[in-house]
Amino acid sequence: MNDELYIKESSEIFDAIVVGSGVSGGWAAKEFCEKGFKTLMIERGRVVEHRKDYTSEGVPPWHQTYRSRVENLLLQRDYNIQQQCYAFSDATKHFFANDREMPYSTAEGTEFSWIRANQLGGKSLLWHRQSYRLSEHDFRANGLDGHGTDWPIGYSDLAPWYSHVEKHAGICGTPENLPQLPDSEFLPPFEMSAPEKAIKAAIENHYSDKQLIMGRMAHLTQPTELHLSQGRVKCQARNECQKGCSFGAYFSTQSSTLPSAAKTGNLHIAPNSVVHSLIYDEKTGRVKGVRVIDNDDLSEREYYGKVVFLCASTLGSTQIMLNSTSKAFPQGIANSSGVLGHYLMDHNYNAKVKGDITGFEDEYYRGRRPGGLLIPNFRYKPSRYSDKYQRGFSFSCGAYRETWKDQKEGDGFGSKFKETLSQAGQWKFNMDAQGEMLPRFENHMALHPTLKDKWGIPQVEFNVRWSDNEKLMMEDAVEIGKEILINAGLENVTGEATERPPGIAIHEVGTARMGRDPKDSILNGFNQCHDVANLFVTDGSCFSSSATQNPSLTFMALTARAVDYAAKEIKNGRI
């Protein structure tokens, strides 16, 4: 990396400003830089250098301060919300936001878990790496059943861009030719264990509408020349990804998009720069740049650019837009429609099912596979909907053998107890539903009228609830999940619907949705604001519906496509 990569003060007018450095921001920066645009990436947090700053990587548990647990006082004081994330541990906490510094509120009677990652790379360092294309069925669902607004784009618009980003990021998986889950450009899949193969066969033998497939993940199972040229090598199956991976084996900004962007010499990064608002020029009707508060000393500065891409995370980008008021846009920039902040969605993870697998005592696995299996959504079009609710869900699944962790409060003493704990135990199979959430106007975020954070930015207040549709779906998922496992021959099958709040799937989308009509949407089909031609929002804010798929791959494809469009519009003088 060159010495001038990181900047602080600058009066330069950049060709492009990208706010955020996570999955979307990394892609926006890479694509702009490779097209020859002098690009400024603005990150609110500190710099995290690939490899050098993965300080917990490779540390065995006995050398960790509290063997992966986090000190109680610190947990209560600084990570009250973040600790709800499955990936939060002593070895990853430095990549999560500090809740004490970043307060938010929820409307009475509602809950929302806002998981954040404020450093260079954002949540791309922490994500679960599951990568799935949306299908034409997903893009058409709103139009067909009347919830939300129809996406202005279809699968064919995005398909080449999925291919474009997949080849660079590296997605492993199996081609399945499923109508609801289009295949990606695949690297070889991870292997299934023997019981997983048996359960797959049993499920697919019993059901014509359900498949159990290997999960699709942004892991290099067999790196191509392109991946090697990024400085990345094969996945070592540690499954400790969220500590950071010096092998660059999973896709992150640091491993994949940042090296490509930096190589061009067109990239500059302004770290520790909390974007307060966008600077809007009433005369030209364009955005001129951004107002920034320094993360450390709270001083103010501005950056200028010809086009601005908001990639600050779904809720982060919308917070910035709501806080960017002007005579033309008193309710937030590009918000003439009044829908900014509305139609907030997440995925619903509130159904889990498990069972015991008999046999396979002679079978084991070697290595730690960094992800599991998937039963794709089988209620992917109205003719397949339940009569109790609309839309559908998928199941994330996996088999494992129990260890001491599952038996640590078991009965017994002495060498016999020790011998039991030293052996792999019962094979288990887990299923966790991932349900679609309907786009509803009532589910929204807004700026709090009085409360501000330490940077002087109005705090976010959430008002989001699961509707009956989501609750009925999870109850059904429990019943269907149990039926699947019983039919697959598992024993002691149990399931439960839980009541985890929205947000905790960390798949928040919506709030600046795409649509054809400027009167009820913020963005057009190229992620461009209807109201402000040189302002684009390409993270999850743009989603018109949540679908059931993990959204990050779609952020990548939409971002790359939007940059391509913006670059052409600039060339043609329309921006």
Partner: protein, 211 residues
């Protein structure tokens, strides 16, 4: 035979480790490679360091007498066999540190309370401190606690399970527990979905980020 098997595995592991280090250095540089394989020295600094004598003095949470009871319970739950047991790797010292820093008053009190109950029952029944009772007496008392019977209640059992969970956690996340008693692979290299169980012969002690 098991020992020989383990030794062969270990040597194999060391050989592959050296080979791997060479390949890894070529990719990420030798400093980064050493860090990857050996862990980061800075983050080791504050980790609890096992001591041979932690039962001889007060801990952060427990009095010296409680530390001794704790040590004897550790030895009863996970004794020394072909590998050192929970007391030998100072799981009692670890638990004192862990409960003090990572748990609240509820769990701390649960453990304090069961230690005190164990001591009381020992004195009632055997006329001597738990530490002075012989091994068989200690075991009988703990087995009754787990049922529960012999003066122990369901609440005592529940309190004991908190402690037992800590002993098991402390032992299997120690270097001996995770990498000698169990099979430890820092960097597996790839994932194989199906191998004969007997080729490992024990559970994996290496896990994902969260233990």
């Amino acid at each position: 035979m098991n020992d020989q098997h383990d030794k062969n595995n270990l040597e194999l592991d060391n050989r592959s480790r050296r080979r791997f280090f060479g390949r890894l250095s070529a990719v990420v540089g030798s400093v980064a490679a050493a860090q990857l394989l050996g862990g980061n020295a800075i983050s080791n600094a504050l980790a609890y360091t096992p001591r041979p004598d932690s039962a001889n003095s007060d801990g952060k949470l427990f009095r010296q007498q409680e530390m001794q009871i704790l040590r004897d319970i550790c030895a009863q739950v996970i004794p020394q066999t072909a590998t050192p047991g929970a007391a030998e790797v100072d799981t009692h010292g670890f638990i004192d540190n862990q409960l003090f820093h990572c748990y609240g008053a509820t769990e701390q009190q649960q453990v304090k309370s069961i230690l005190s109950k164990i001591e009381r029952i020992s004195r009632q029944r055997y006329g001597q401190a738990f530490n002075d009772a012989d091994q068989a007496q200690q075991l009988t008392l703990l087995e009754e606690l787990e049922k529960p019977a012999g003066g122990f209640s369901q609440q005592d059992r529940a309190n004991f399970k908190v402690l037992k969970g800590q002993i098991v956690f402390g032992y299997y996340t120690s270097e001996v527990g995770a990498s000698e008693e169990l099979a430890y692979l820092a960097i597996p290299g790839d994932f194989k979905g199906s191998i004969p169980y007997k080729s490992v012969g024990k559970a994996w002690g290496s896990m994902r980020s969260y233990y």
